[in-house]
């Protein structure tokens, strides 16, 4: 167990808690930089998917995990990012220009959906975002001369500045840079007054308002940032899968994102990353599991959905803090050994969240 004894104010501003944790993150970064030289192509592309999902997870975590606004339409922002990127790149725009446009476009639509959301709370907000997701999906399918409709469109390999990025390694590094930058940006944002305001809104809108937090401003800001980040994930996603069509951005994807951050651990950025790793590696695990299952069950298309749902239910019932919470408990167990107590992370019941008027 380490105790950090702060003697200077600058220590409060440090990015890492102490040298050891900084060293661990550096080691992780080195491993990720070296990974494409060591890993086979397949695992490299799985890593790219994890990066992209982690970016989307950061976006949704900012909105749902830190501002407390549940969006069931985040696939729409992913779609908007992906389509904007695909269309602009096809017209010869470089990534350094097209990606910011994709982000900005997604963010603007985030504001559009965020504005009515100011008056909506809880379930009504979920429905509004759900409706938004459906409408975007329908527009993508029907606006054929721009989006090519249900037949989908091919996406060229990414062009960063002027030359085409043909090799997958270079795209891997592009995604790595994006995920690190977005992660750092959000981490710092959450330490700033803006981030504190988001958390205050999540914990209680009424008390945030009485502390002088402008609800309208911060909720819209949260929606815009979240949508923009998800748009960036969408832009990278388009290049990674090379072919986009409306059925890749359905409600199922939005729900998958939500499940990703819940399984990872609500209210922590680590959780978004853990959730992304989980969501990407689950099909692999199921594939490995299939060999041991009876034929009749293993061949069913519903198997993935069932396992996903069961895991989700188990997490909510038994580990509401998600994978990150589990990791925290294990770490605390070892760092306090043998003094760890079972009730240290005991759940508190919270009855004040009721939406009723009594």
């Amino acid at each position: 167990m380490r105790f950090i004894f702060k003697t200077r104010y600058e220590q409060d501003l440090q990015l890492f808690k102490d040298g050891v944790s900084a060293a661990w993150y550096c080691a992780l970064l080195v491993v990720l930089i070296a990974a494409p030289f060591v890993l086979p192509d397949y695992y490299r592309s799985q890593l790219v998917f994890i990066f992209i999902y982690a970016i989307a997870g950061f976006g949704l975590m900012l909105l749902a995990g830190y501002t407390g606004q549940i969006s069931m339409g985040h696939a729409a922002f992913l779609a908007i990012g992906a389509y904007t990127e695909a269309i602009l790149q096809a017209q010869g725009w470089p990534f350094v220009l097209s990606a910011p446009v994709a982000v900005a476009f997604a963010a603007i639509l985030g504001v559009v959906i965020g504005l009515p959301a100011l008056r909506l709370t809880g379930i009504y907000l979920s429905i509004a975002t759900l409706a938004f997701g459906f409408i975007v999906e329908e527009i993508l399918a029907r606006w054929e001369h721009v989006t090519a409709g249900n037949s989908g469109m091919l996406v060229p390999s990414v062009r960063l500045l002027f030359n085409q990025f043909e090799s997958a390694n270079e795209f891997y590094y592009l995604c790595l840079v994006c995920v690190v930058l977005v992660g750092l940006a959000i981490f710092n944002l959450l330490r700033s007054p803006t981030g504190r305001a988001f958390i205050a809104i999540r914990d209680s809108e009424v008390s945030a308002q009485s502390m002088g937090v402008n609800l309208a401003r911060y909720k819209t800001l949260s929606f815009a940032l979240s949508a923009g980040i998800t748009g960036l994930a969408g832009a990278l996603y388009a290049h990674q899968i090379r072919f986009i069509s409306p059925e890749q951005f359905t409600l199922f994807v939005s729900i998958e994102f939500l499940m990703m951050i819940v399984i990872g651990g609500m209210g922590s950025l680590h959780g978004a990353v853990f959730g992304a790793i989980f969501v990407i590696s689950l099909p692999e695990l199921i594939g490995a599991l299939k060999d041991y299952l009876p034929q009749a069950i293993a061949e069913q298309p519903g198997l993935k959905m069932t396992i996903f749902g069961v895991i989700m239910i188990l997490f909510v019932l038994f580990e509401p803090m998600g994978l990150y919470g589990r990791w925290l408990k294990i770490r605390t167990y070892f760092s306090l050994f043998p003094l760890y107590k079972k009730d240290m992370f005991k759940r508190q019941k919270a009855y004040q969240k009721s939406e009723r008027v009594h």
């Binding site: 729900i255 069913q300 749902g309």
Partner: protein, 291 residues
């Protein structure tokens, strides 16, 4: 004439939405949980009815009664096993549990022998008839849906108004704590409400199955019933019925008068418009939460 025709078709499909929305609202009023699995519960009801009537050759109405009974048990278990343990957790936990349960129901339905991912027909004795009044041609299924929905609603109304249990349910949904103090067994009442709601969903499934088909994805109609519940105001039972009818009618008209594509999103456009004007639906009481 054609507008009358569209209206009847719209009212019929609106009744289905209304019944599913009714399930949402009953559960929401009682336990403050939005059951995102309601559509999948309905799908399960359709499959159970199909199993009794189609696979095992029971008489249709007996199969309907069995399906409702089976689903009521499922609903009660759903409440007991999944939602009772997370009482007191943030509302988000319940949302995720019901979403995940919907996934599980849908996934399991494709794995049950005899169900699978195929499409089945479930015909009612009244199906496939056409009633002609002047130039008007009405499907007998539509008439049956409207009549049976009206009967069910009347039955539920009388149940909530006149029986002891019904009044206890009303009390519970108004104020759980006070209900508990006057001696109402709130957990058991909540379980019963979940059972009723799942039973209503099974009834809706049996009404819907003859005009669509029985399929593991038929639960997606629940996503249309959502807007219906929201348009009416989530906490209001008459609101759910009116909301369902509004969505059904709008969809029916949009499918005929507007370009292709609008029919599928009409429900969502309506719900966004209603939420813009009245953020908690048409029938909601506009009160602010007191601290």
């Amino acid at each position: 004439m054609e507008i009358l025709q569209l209206t009847i078709a719209g009212v019929a499909i609106g009744c289905i939405y209304a019944l599913i929305a009714l399930g949402f609202v009953l559960i929401y009023k009682a336990t403050e949980v939005v059951n995102f699995a309601q559509g999948d519960v309905m799908m399960l009801g359709a499959f159970v009815a199909f199993t009794f009537a189609g696979l095992w050759q029971f008489p249709f109405w007996l199969a309907v009664i069995f399906a409702i009974a089976v689903l009521a048990v499922v609903g009660a278990l759903f409440n007991r096993l999944l939602l009772r343990p997370i009482i007191g957790q943030p509302a988000f936990a319940a949302v995720m549990v019901t979403l995940a349960a919907g996934f599980v129901i849908r996934g399991v339905a494709t794995m049950v022998p005899g169900w699978g991912a195929d499409t089945y027909a479930l015909k009612a004795p009244y199906s496939d008839g056409v009633i002609r009044i002047g130039e008007l041609a009405i499907l007998s299924d539509h008439i049956a849906i409207i009549v049976l929905t009206a009967l069910l609603c009347a039955g539920l109304y009388l149940f909530f108004k006149n029986t002891r249990v019904g009044i206890a349910m009303q009390a519970t949904s108004q104020n759980q704590l006070a209900a508990n103090y006057v001696g109402i067994p709130v957990p058991r009442i909540n379980m019963l409400i979940w059972a009723i709601s799942a039973g209503v969903a099974a009834f809706a499934a049996v009404l819907l199955a003859p005009i669509t088909f029985v399929h593991s994805n038929m639960g997606f109609i629940g996503l249309k019933a959502f807007p219906a519940a929201v348009v009416g105001g989530f906490g209001s039972i008459p609101g759910a019925i009116v909301g369902g009818l509004i969505i059904g009618l709008v969809e029916s008209y949009a499918g005929f008068y507007l370009p292709e594509g609008f029919k599928d999103v009409a429900a969502y456009i309506v719900v966004l418009l209603v939420l813009l004007i009245r953020p908690s639906g048409i029938f909601a009481e506009m009160r602010r939460k007191k601290v």
